[in-house]
Amino acid sequence: MPADTARAVAPPADVAAASPRMHRPRRRLRTIGSYTLLTAAAVVVIFPIYITVVNSLLRPDQLVQQPPPLFPRTPQWHDYTAAWTTGQMSKYVATSAIMTAIIVVGQLVTSILAAYAFAFLRFPFKRTLFLVCLVTLMIPFEVTFITNLDTVTSLHWFNTYAGLSIPFLATGFGIFLLRQAFLQIPRDLQEAAQLDGYGHLRFMTRVAVPLARPSLAALAVFSFLGAWNQYLWPLVSTGGTTPLYTVQIGLKELLGTEVSQIPVSLAGAVIAFVPLVILLIIFQKQLVRSLTAGAVK
């Protein structure tokens, strides 16, 4: 259909050939227009982050200046030191890093194992059990956290890494994503491996997992983002005299109302945001893949 339309609409070859030269000034104008628009949009989108970085480098008296400085002429780095040490961001970052690592690794392992079973093995209730895994995606965490809090408390996991991470170690999304990836692997390959004497575990670790690397990366990035940024669970499942706060909850603690405290909390926000910007720049493709997994077939 599309090809037909295109052919029917643009038949005379000489006109088509002439048009680029005729429209060159107009096209350049359009390109300039596009760049102007894109740059303006980019400035608006990035402005909140930019001004946060600038403000985190200002002295309190510069903060209240009018008009507000849009560039730090004498950058003050001591608010970063303050956020990192007295603001305890170092502790929060470590907690978040450990919790995130446990969740990412755990989700990868449980998803690989379950997805392998669904993709390569025959067993009774396969369809039912797969549906069971998918149904978990429809149960919002906002419903389950009430009881999970009781469960974690009765297991003495309140305010521990176990409590922070174990409820998230399995994910229906991960199982679904990896099953799709495993199903792409040609059957012949499995038969060939079997002839070579590969058992299932060897086939999984030597063939299936390496071939599913793009999906594994997408899942890893996705669960990293979710774990690092989650707010509700760390908020309710930590506390007490030596609270095991993650970066997100730490930021809430850091947020003061006094003007002198503002650059410190802004520095904290920058510290919390930087790892994710690096993640985005390196793994943009994988992130996009995982975020649009349900949108584009």
Partner: protein, 317 residues
């Protein structure tokens, strides 16, 4: 016992099958056993942290917490449900959440679509623009709240300089508190919206738009008559996903407004109300009832999406 040699060594694999039903049956049984072992970790975790709490939520709904702390909760059956969902606090919270969703979803999706269309042309340096437009997707609610908390600050931010300075300040103002929280969420959603819309645009055949252009259709016409209809499955997906997310958003309220002011400033969104009912009022029964309402809303949205996806599959031949 006899089958232990089957997986090891390059013994002719079809042999057990040909050798009769017993070898095959043993192999199938071993395969099933392996499958269940592989599924075990995920299923145990789902059972403990998804299905059990989901079911227990219904049980919690039937028990009332007495107003005096320390006393055991009392079975009241279904009698607690109607008073809870008709209480002004809950209905107000539901209305607040719906207004919040209506503020956030259309604006963030339209802006995301606009950015995606702008970034669709193949130009030099587009990769940089794409990173910038997607960047807010990695921002957590806490980061976004700290960032905008300062931007909306009555003394420090840009607002006093621009002369836009409501009294009381935006985040302490009954009119502007909810739009402020919505603004933060819109900014936070923009990246996701851009990413989804861009992925959708890539599936729209360029030849089709090019043909319309040669046909003399202006960019405005092309956008509304071609891009948007062709993108409708993507837009629908984005609407459902961001509506579900918006129903679950509460972090900015917790960080910037707090439980003392949330009700007064009309920012007591559903999740925040559930959280405070659970933690401050120590009333798990009422919290469970409200959580069930939220679950039903999200379930409805998810089913809507699934039905639509099914229809889409049948359309595509």
């Amino acid at each position: 016992m006899t089958a232990t040699t089957v997986p090891a060594g390059p013994a002719p694999p079809p042999a057990p099958e040909r050798g009769g039903g017993r070898g095959l049956r043993t192999r199938l049984r071993k395969e099933a056993a392996l499958a269940y072992v592989l599924l075990l970790p995920a299923l145990v975790l789902f059972g403990a942290f998804s299905f059990y709490p989901f079911l227990r939520n219904f049980k919690l709904m039937l028990y009332e917490t007495p107003p005096v702390p320390g006393l055991p909760s009392r079975y009241v059956g279904l009698h607690q449900i109607i008073p809870t969902i008709t209480s002004t606090q809950f209905t107000q919270s539901l209305v607040t959440t719906i207004i919040f969703v209506i503020l956030v979803v259309p604006i963030s999706l339209l802006l995301g679509l606009a950015l995606a269309v702008a970034a669709h042309r193949k130009l030099k340096g587009m990769a940089v623009y794409r990173v910038i437009f997607s960047s807010t997707v990695v921002s957590s609610v806490a980061v976004a709240s700290v960032v905008f908390g300062t931007l909306l600050n009555p003394v420090v931010g840009l607002l006093p300089w621009l002369g836009i300075n409501p009294t009381p300040p935006a985040l302490e103002n009954t009119t502007w508190a909810l739009p402020s929280v919505a603004l933060i969420t819109i900014w936070q959603f923009l990246g996701l919206s851009f990413i989804i819309m861009s992925a959708g645009l890539q599936s729209v055949p360029d030849e089709l738009l090019e043909a319309a252009r040669i046909d003399g259709a202006g960019s405005w016409t092309r956008f509304w008559r071609m891009t948007v209809p062709l993108l409708s499955p993507t837009i629908f997906f984005a609407v459902v996903v961001s509506t579900i997310y918006a129903f679950q958003a509460f972090g900015a309220v917790d960080i910037l407004i707090g439980n003392q002011n949330a009700v007064r400033l009309h920012t007591n969104v559903l999740i925040y109300n559930i959280l405070n009912t659970l933690q401050i009022e120590s009333n798990p029964g009422a919290a469970a009832i409200m959580a069930t309402v939220l679950f039903l809303i999200i379930l409805g949205l998810t089913l809507l999406q699934l039905r639509f996806l099914e229809r889409r599959v049948s359309y595509a031949r």
